[in-house]
Symmetry: C3
Subunit: 639 residues, 3 copies
C-alpha cells in the first residue's frame, strides 16, 4: 500500500472565487483527498425541508475536476438552530441537570428519537443526491463522537431510554435488584420506571447502576451511528468512516467500528500532551512542542484494530491549535514526523486539518496549512515534503506484530465507576504498559477483548481488563503466547460485582487476591532487583511460582510458563524490567531506546522517530531532533 | 468493667443457610454483640403498610441461640424507593438548589414532617414487635447522622421550617432585624416568611443569618432523633444508641446525646487520615497504614462525654475501606491496636464493621472480618486475639483525667461562618491543642461548654470557644484548675456579633484584643524561646502579665495564676512549650513522647500505643511497631 | 490643589446620641468630607412609597453643623426585601442558571426595567429633597459597580435586552451571522429572538457571541448609571461621583466616567494583594502587610483618566479587612503611606472606610478608624498625621507625565473571551508593563484608547490593545512619542475575528505575525542580552529592523524610530531592558529602584514611597520601612 494525503476543507467558509485555486494548490501540494461538509447543515437546509445543494454541487465539481477524491460527511454533529425549536428537549443535560445549550457543536442527546429521525432524513437526502456520485470516494458519518464530553446525558429522554434498555436487559425488576445487589442500602426498585439516572445522589450510586448507565450510553452511540450506516449502505459502495478522537473512551469504538469500513482519528499531539495526559513536569516540558512520543502510536495501533486493519488520520495537527490550555507551535519537522509515523503504523490516508485557517469563530487561532491571508503556514512545506517522500519510498506493508495488547472500553467504565483509589485510571494503566513495550523497541498490535485468535503473537498483555469471558482465559492459555495479566484483570463480574470464585479468575493459575490496596503518589514499594510498585497493589497468595517480589517479600508477579499475573502497578523502571523478562521468556529481542526515540517496523522497512528536541544516539547512530529515519534492507531511505 | 466485642451483620445480604454458621463463628471469635437491620427497610416493608418480619425473626433467633446479644436498628437512614413517590419533596436539596436523589443512602431532609411520621411509624412497628424481646439488648436509631454532608438542606420544607424556627426564637421580625444587624446592607425583613435560606446570595450572607440556619439545622436533627427515642422509650428499657462519625460537627452531638443512653462512633482510622485531616505530606506518609495517632483517641474522649460516660465503637475498621481517596491496608497489628486503644479509653464495646465483605453494591471493596468467599480476612485473627487478651487483662476502670478540653459544636459553626482567614477551622485548632497534650503524655477528658463543675481538673483548655455564658468564665475562675483560653475564645455574642464590652470577655483578666490578623502558611511569627505563631494572631493589650511574646515583642500569652489567654495559633513547638508551662503551673508531670507513641491511663493500668511503623524508645523501653503495651502496678501485661 | 480627607459614615448603624460626638471627632481628626446613605434604602423607604427622611435630615444637620461636607449617596446597590417581591425576576442569574438571592448586596440585574424605574424614583425623591441642599457637596451614585462579579447576568430579562441590543447593532440577522462567522459550525440564526446568552454551551461559544454579550453587559451599566445621572443633573450642580473598585474590568469605566464629574475608587491594598493579584510566593510574602507597590498607583493613574483629571479615593483601607482569603494588619505607617501616595497621584480627597467598625453583619471584622467600642484603631492616628502633613506641605500640582500607557476595557473582554493560553490576561500584561515603567522611576499617565492627542508624551505603551481604530495608529505615528505596541496589539477586528490584512495592523510598520504561541510557566525563551519571553510569543517576519531577538534568533522586538512592535510577553528582566531602551530612545532618564521603593512627581514635589518592610538605599539615601519622603526644590519635607 502507498499511503496518500488529504485535507479538510470548508467551501462554505470561503468565497466561491477561491475554490478553484484552492483545489489546484491542494493537488500541487501532493494532496489526494478532500473532506467536506461535516458542519454545513445550516447551509444545506436553512429552513426545514428546503434544501440548497447547488453550492455543494459546484464545490464538488471544482474539487473533483482538479483531481481530488471527495470524502463527503453527514452534518449531524451540528444541527441548525431551528432544530432546537422543533425538538426543544433534544439537548443533552449535564450532571447538574442543566441543558447544554445551542451555540457551539455536538448539542444533541443520543437518545432523542426525533433528532435521530432528522439525522436519518438528512442522511437520506445526501445519500440520494451523492450516493452514486463517482466523485465521492468515502463518507464520514457525524464528527468526533464523544468530543466535549458528549456521550453521557442526564436528560429526560435519556432516562426514559435507559429504563427501556434496563427492561430489555433484565426482563423483570427483581432480576435487576438481584444483579445490582440493591438490597445493600434498601435501594430495591418495584418498577423499572422508578430507576433514575445515577447523578446527584447523596453519596456514590451503586456501581452496578452506573455501569449499566455507561453501557447504555455507549449502546446509544452505536445505535445512533447505525441509523446513518443503514441509509448510506443502501446508497453507496464506498467506505464509511467515522473520525474518532484521542483518549475518549466513553463509548465502545470497537462496536461502532463493526458497522463501518475504515476507522479514522483526529491526531493533535501537542494539544493532547497539554490537555489529556498525566506526566511529570519534566516530561511535559521536554515534549511541549512535539507531543508525547507514544500517544500517537498508541492511537494508530488502537484504531488499526477498530478499523479491522483499515484506518486513516482524518485530522492531523499542522501547527498550533486553539483549544488546549497552552498552544505552542510544533518544532520544525514535527508535522512531517507525525505524518510519517502514521504511515509507518499503516494509515492509508493522512489528512491535515485544515486547508486554510478560518479568520472567524471558535477556531480562528487554529492553524491550517494556509494562513487566513492565504499564504502558506509552516505545516504546508512539511506536508508537501511528505507527499514527495511517499513517492520515493514506495509501498509499505503492515505485518502482524509480535506483541499484542488487549484494549477494552468497558474496563475503563468499570474502573472509572469503581476506581478504589484516586489514581486508578484504565487508560493511564494500559498506556504505561504500552510505553514500556515501546521503550523496548517493540512494535505492538492492539486487539479487542473479544479476540480469541492469538496465532502469531509471542506476548499478550492485558492489564486492568475488568471482566473476562471465560473463553478468553482458556484461549489465552491455549495460545503460544505468554500472557501477562493484571493488575486487577478478571476481578469483577459483568455486573461490576465480586465474582463468587477466587479472583483473579484466570484459568490454570493458582493465584488469589487477598486484598487490594491503593495509595497516594508519595507511597511506593521497592521491588527486589529494581523498580517500585506505585498507586495499586494486590496482596497475592497461591501456589503459582513467584516471579517478582517487593523488598518486603510481597508477591508482585506470579505465574507459569504460559500466563503471568501482575498484582501491582509498576513504575517505569519496573515496567521496563517486566517487559524485558517477558520478552526474554517469549524469545523476543528488546533494546533500551533513549528518551524520545521510538521504532516501528512496517514490513521490511524499519522506522525510527526522534521526538526529542535534540539529537540522540542509539545503536551507534545519531538521530537528529524531530527526525524520521527509515531503513529498507539496511539502506537508510529517509532522514 | 470488662469490655466486649461486637460485629455488624446483614442477614438480608446472605443466604439464610449461612446464618447459623456465621453466628457460631462469631461466638468462636469471641464476639458478644451483633448489630442488625439499619439498612433493611426495603426488606421489612416492601410495599407501604405490608410488613415482612419473618426473616428478621428467624435471624434474631439464630443469632440469639448462638449466644449473641442483638443490637436492633431503626432503618430510617435508607427509606425505600416508594417513600420518594409518597413524599416527592422529602429529598434534601444541595447548595446549588438540586434535590439529592435516591440511589444511595441518607436521602432525606430532616425537616420533612411526612417522612418523620413514617419514621415514627416504622419505629413503632419495630418497637411493638421487638421492644420487649429479651434477645434485643440495645437499639440503634438511624445511622451516621451527618455522613455525606446531610445535615444542611436547602429544600422548600427546610425553608418553611426555618421560618417557623425563627418565629419561635425572635417573636417579632424587628427583634430579628436588630439581633442580626440587618440594617447593615438594607437587609431588613418585614415578615418572617420573607427570610430565605442563606445559599446562593450575591456575596456572603449575614453571619447571623448563617449561624441561625446552622443552629436550626442542628435542632432539626435533635428533633428528628427524639421522635424515635420517644417511641422506643415507651417500649423498652434497654439502652438507646446512635452511631456518630469522625469529624462531623454539623449538629450538636451533646444535644442528641442527652436523649440517648450510650454514644457510639464509627472509627475508620486510615480512611479518616486520607479523607478528613490536615497534615503535611510527611505526617500522612508516616501514618498512611495506621491512621493518625491522635484522631481515634480524640473521638473516644469526645464520645465518652457525649455518652455521659457510656460509649462504644459501633463500627471498627477491620481492613482496607473503599471510600477514601486512597485505601491502603492496615499494617499488621493495627486492628488490635485500634481495638485496645478504644478499650483503654473506656469503650464498653468494640464492634467490627462488618462480618463479611459484601460482593456487591457501593462497599464491595470494603473489608470485613471475612472475605466475600467466607475465608478469614486479616482483621479476623486480630479481633480474636483482642477477645482473648480482654479475658487475660480483666476489668479496667476509667478515672477522671487531670486535664479537660472544652469542645463546643456551635463554635465550629461560628468560625465556619466567619473564619476571617482561610485556615481558621475550629476542629483543626482544638485538635492541635489535643495533640500537644497527648505528645506530653497526658490523658484528657473532653467536656461540653455547658459543664460548670471542674472539680478534680488541674488544667482546662478552651481554644476557640466562640461564645460563653458568663457563668462559664466565673466558674472557671473559681475552680482549682488553670484555665487556658484562646485564641478567639469569648469574642462573639450568641448572635455572632461583636459584644459591646472588651473582648475576650473573660472574668477578672485585663486583656483586650486590639485587632485580629489571619495570614497564609508562608507567614509565621517567631516567639521568644522557641516556636512560632501561625495562621492567626490577635494584638493584645491590657495589664495582665505577659507570659509569652514574639521576638518582635507582641504578646502571645497573658494571664494570672488562674486564667491564661492565648491570642495566637501556636505551631507544634509552641504548643509543646505552652502545654509544658501550663502543666508545670498546674503541678502536672509531662514527658516528651516520640513520634507515634501515645499513652493512656485506665485506672491502675497504663497503656502505651505505638502508631509508628517502626519501633521507638521512650523511658528506657523499646516499643515495637504497631504495638500495644500495658502495665498494671509495674507488671507489663500486653505487648 | 490641597487635598482633603474624608470618611464613610453610617448614621443608621448607630444610636443618634453618638452622632454629634462622632462629627466633632471627625473634624478634630482633620476630616473634611463625610459620605452617607449608600446602604440605607430600607431605612428611607421601609414600605414602598412611604419615606422616612427625618433621621437623615437630622444626621445631615449634625454633620454639617460640625463643619463637614456631605457626600450623599443613592442607595440603589441594596434594594430592600420588598423590592424582590415587587420584581421577582430582578435578581441576576449566575452562569449555572441560578438566581443570585437576596441577603447581601448588589442583588439586581442591570437589565431589569422595573428595578431601573424604582432606582430612578428613589433618586428623584432624594434629589427633590437634597438636590439644592448646600450642605450636600457631592453625590455618589450606587456603590462599587461590578463588585462580587455582578456585571454579567444570565437572566431572562438580560436575554431579552441582549436580543434588542443585537437588533440595534446589526439590523438584520444575516448581518450578525456574517459578522460572527456563524457558518463555522452551522450556528446561523434565523431571527434575533433565537439568540441565547452564551452560557452552558456544549463547548466554547463563538467568541464574537461572547464579545457582543460582554459589550452589551457593559452598556447596560452605562445606561443604568445614566438614569440616575439625568435625575441628579436636573437637581444639583455639585459633582456626581461613582466609587469604582480595583481590578474590575467587566464594564467600560471610561464610558461611565463620561457621564460623571469625578471618578473615585475603593483602595484595599492588602486585600487586593491576597485576593486578586498574580505573583510568586516571595513577592506576596514580602508585601503581605503593605500591599503591592504598584497596584494602588496603577489605579490612581487609571481613575485620574476615568475622572478626566478629577478623582478621589472614596474608601481607603484603614486596618485589617474581613473579605480576603487572609487578612493581616497593615504595618505601622502604611495607612499614611497609602494616603500620601494617593495625594501624590492627584487625589482630591482620601476618604477612609469606615469611621467606626460595625459590630454586626458581614463586615464586623473590617477595621474602621474607631474600634466598635469607640476607642481609636491604629489607622486613626495615621489619618490625623496625614491631615496635619497636608497643611504643612501646602498645595500640590499635577503635571502631565512623560509616559502614557493606553488602557482599554474591551481588550480585557477580548482576551478573556479568547485567551489562546491559560495565562494570557490583559490586566496581568498591562500591569507587568506598568510595573516595569515604575521600577525605572517614571511617572505615568494612563489614557483611554479613544485618546488621539499625544502632545507632550515622549513614550506611549499599548500592550495587548485588542482592536484599533485606524486613526489611533496613524495619530500615534504622527505624534512625537515613541509608541511601543504589542504583544497582540491590533490583531483582531471589532467583532473579535482576524482582520483581512496583515497583523498587527500598524501604520507604517512592516511586521507580520506568522503565528502565535502560548506556553506554560515552565517554558521560557532566553533573549540575547538578558531576560526571557514568558507565556506568549508571536513569530514575527517583515522588513522592519529587529531590535531584540531570542538566543534562537527569533524576533522579539522590531520597529522604526517612531513605533516598536513587541511580539512577546517579557519577564521582569526583559521588561526592564525594554523600558530602558525605549526611554533612551525617547530621551528620558531612568533609574533602577530597589524592590519596594517607588517614585512619583507632583509638580515640583518629588515623592518616594518605600513599600518594603525594611529600609532601602537608593541614590545615596536611606528610606525607612513603610516611609513617605518628599522633596520640594531639594528640601526634604516629609519623612
Amino acid at each position: 500500500m502507498i499511503s496518500t494525503l488529504g485535507v479538510c476543507y470548508y467551501p462554505e467558509h470561503w468565497d466561491e472565487a477561491m475554490w478553484a485555486s484552492d483545489a489546484e494548490r491542494m493537488v500541487e501540494t501532493g494532496i489526494t483527498w478532500v473532506r467536506i461538509g461535516e458542519f454545513a447543515w445550516s447551509r444545506l437546509e436553512k429552513v426545514e425541508g428546503t434544501f440548497t445543494f447547488e453550492w455543494l454541487d459546484r464545490a464538488i465539481a471544482v474539487l473533483a475536476d482538479a483531481g481530488l477524491k471527495v470524502v463527503m460527511c453527514t452534518p449531524t454533529t451540528t444541527p441548525p438552530r431551528w432544530m432546537i425549536e422543533k425538538h426543544p428537549n433534544m439537548l443533552a443535560v449535564d450532571a447538574n441537570g442543566n441543558p447544554r445549550k445551542f451555540g457551539s457543536r455536538r448539542h444533541y442527546c443520543f437518545s432523542h428519537q426525533g433528532y435521530i429521525q432528522d439525522c436519518e432524513r438528512i442522511t437520506r437526502v445526501l445519500a440520494d443526491r451523492y450516493g452514486a456520485d463517482p466523485r465521492i470516494h468515502a463518507w464520514q458519518i457525524d464528527n468526533e463522537y464523544g468530543c466535549h464530553d458528549t456521550i453521557i446525558s442526564y436528560s429526560d429522554v435519556a432516562r426514559a431510554a435507559f429504563q427501556e434498555w434496563l427492561t430489555d436487559r433484565y426482563g423483570d425488576v427483581e432480576a435487576l435488584n438481584t444483579a445490582w445487589g440493591n438490597v445493600f442500602w434498601s435501594m430495591e426498585y418495584d418498577r423499572f420506571d422508578q430507576i433514575d439516572l445515577p447523578n446527584l445522589t447523596v453519596t456514590e450510586p451503586n456501581p452496578a447502576h452506573v455501569m449499566a448507565f455507561r453501557r447504555f450510553s455507549s449502546d446509544q452511540v452505536v445505535k445512533f451511528n447505525r441509523v446513518q450506516v443503514n441509509v448510506l449502505r443502501a446508497a453507496t459502495d464506498v467506505p464509511l468512516i467515522h473520525n474518532y478522537m484521542g483518549r475518549i473512551l466513553d463509548f465502545d469504538h470497537f462496536e461502532v467500528g463493526e458497522d463501518l469500513d475504515i476507522a479514522s482519528w483526529d491526531s493533535y499531539p501537542i494539544g493532547f500532551l497539554s490537555d489529556r495526559l498525566e506526566g511529570d513536569d519534566d516530561h511535559k516540558a521536554a515534549f511541549l512542542q512535539q507531543g508525547d512520543p507514544d500517544m500517537q502510536a498508541f492511537h494508530h495501533d488502537l484504531y488499526r484494530a477498530v478499523g479491522k486493519g483499515r484506518w486513516w488520520v482524518m485530522e492531523q495537527q499542522p501547527g498550533p491549535v486553539n483549544w488546549a490550555p497552552y498552544n505552542p507551535a510544533p518544532l520544525d519537522g514535527m508535522v512531517r514526523l507525525w505524518s510519517w509515523e502514521a504511515i509507518a503504523h499503516g494509515a492509508e490516508v493522512v489528512s491535515y486539518f485544515r486547508w486554510r485557517q478560518a479568520p472567524f469563530a471558535q477556531e480562528q487561532m487554529h492553524a491550517g496549512l494556509l494562513r487566513p491571508d492565504d499564504t502558506p503556514a509552516a505545516g504546508m512545506e512539511e506536508a508537501a515534503q511528505v507527499a514527495q517522500e511517499i513517492a520515493t519510498l514506495g509501498p509499505l506493508v503492515q505485518v502482524q506484530a509480535d506483541v499484542a495488547l488487549i484494549f477494552d472500553y468497558p474496563s475503563d467504565w468499570a474502573w472509572n465507576t469503581m476506581p478504589q483509589g484516586a489514581d486508578f485510571d484504565y487508560f493511564r494503566l494500559i498506556f504505561s504498559a504500552y510505553r514500556a513495550l515501546r521503550r523496548a523497541g517493540l512494535s505492538i498490535d492492539i486487539i479487542p477483548s473479544t479476540q480469541r485468535n492469538f496465532d502469531g503473537y509471542k506476548l499478550v498483555f492485558a492489564p486492568g481488563l475488568a471482566n473476562t469471558d471465560p473463553t478468553l482465559m482458556s484461549d489465552l492459555r491455549d495460545s503460544d503466547a505468554l500472557a501477562v495479566l493484571g493488575p486487577r484483570t478478571a476481578t469483577v463480574t459483568d455486573e461490576l460485582s465480586i465474582p463468587p470464585q477466587t479472583q483473579p479468575v484466570i484459568t490454570g493459575l493458582d493465584v488469589n487476591i487477598e486484598l487490594s490496596e491503593s495509595f497516594p503518589p508519595s507511597h511506593i514499594r521497592s521491588v527486589e532487583g529494581g523498580g517500585s510498585v506505585v498507586h495499586w497493589m494486590e496482596k497475592l497468595s497461591g501456589s503459582s511460582p513467584v516471579l517478582m517480589k517487593t523488598e518486603g517479600g510481597a508477591t508482585v508477579l506470579t505465574g507459569d510458563d504460559q500466563m503471568w499475573y501482575l498484582g501491582s502497578w509498576p513504575d517505569e523502571t519496573l515496567w521496563n524490567r517486566l517487559v524485558g523478562m517477558a520478552a526474554t521468556q517469549a524469545g523476543l529481542h528488546t533494546t533500551a531506546l533513549p528518551d524520545g526515540l521510538r521504532l516501528r517496523t512496517a514490513g521490511a522497512v524499519q522506522f525510527a522517530f526522534n521526538y526529542s528536541a535534540h539529537s540522540v544516539s542509539w545503536n551507534d547512530q545519531v538521530f537528529d531532533a524531530c527526525s524520521v529515519t527509515a531503513w529498507d534492507r539496511q539502506d537508510r531511505i529517509l532522514k
